[in-house]
Assembly symmetry: C2
């Protein structure tokens, strides 16, 4: 499993300018096109790069409010709760965490008022004992990966 310095530069380049093709990337990186192709193939089969899906902004879709909800689950109801939450479109991700056999999920809503509806729908399920919600006010560091990639590339 590689991730050498060239891989790091390639990923960073693609993150900055996703639209450029293999040819242009090889020019920028100063290597042959075949090299870039080989690296990309390897990174993708490695699973380092999962894909190049579109990044959709929930706010632009009409869901400008983000919140994180911590859920307390009734013993043995984990699977049911997972299934229930997977069926709620406003649940963007769900994690089970240490702590209290709890779960943490990311929610979006159309407004603060709409958030109430979403939360009601989320917690309106038998397996969920209690929920505590934190509404996101600001997002000083949006989801990012480049710094980590660069660290991994330099440590190698």
């Amino acid at each position: 499993m590689a991730i050498d310095h060239l891989d790091g530069r390639l990923i960073a380049l693609l993150a900055r300018e996703p639209r450029i093709g293999v040819l242009e990337a090889s020019r920028r990186l100063g290597v042959a096109r075949g090299t870039v192709q080989a690296r990309l193939d390897r990174l993708q089969s490695n699973g380092v790069i999962r894909g190049f899906g579109p990044e959709v902004d929930p706010a632009a879709l009409g869901y400008p409010v983000t919140a994180f909800a911590t859920l307390e689950i009734k013993q043995g109801q984990g699977a049911d709760v997972r299934e229930h939450l997977a069926g709620v479109p406003e649940v963007l991700e769900l994690h089970t965490t240490t702590g209290h056999g709890d779960m943490l999920c990311r929610l979006v809503a159309r407004s603060n008022a709409d958030l109430q509806r979403v939360i009601d729908r989320v917690v309106g399920f038998d397996g969920i004992v209690r929920a505590s919600t934190a509404i996101v006010m600001e997002n000083p560091v949006p989801l990012r990966i480049i710094p980590l990639v660069e660290q991994a590339a330099s440590e190698e």
Copy 2:
């Protein structure tokens, strides 16, 4: 701000198979190529689609452990804390939330032991009063957007 049914199908299609081009997409959707191009242009200038950056898997980079840390900040130290956390590569995202004037951040680490190092680095800063960490065990719902897109498209 649009997001009609065709937009929804287009986004879903691109999410499922990001490698297909405009031409292939137009074939799948049963519309003219120019239409797909126009829709894509609009979605991107709308900001609905932010871009097509590579999705990098931290686990494949050697950081298989994910955690969420809730931070309690000393009054008036917000800006400094933000800057500090932005400089830590293992901090993948950072939010300020309601609740206790707190922050929530997503961390990754090489191992549970390494997580201790990361947390020490995160909280080893004057403005941070207290931190509570939840380690992610499972991720039943990975970050997703399609269900929301489909809901937005059908409601329109």
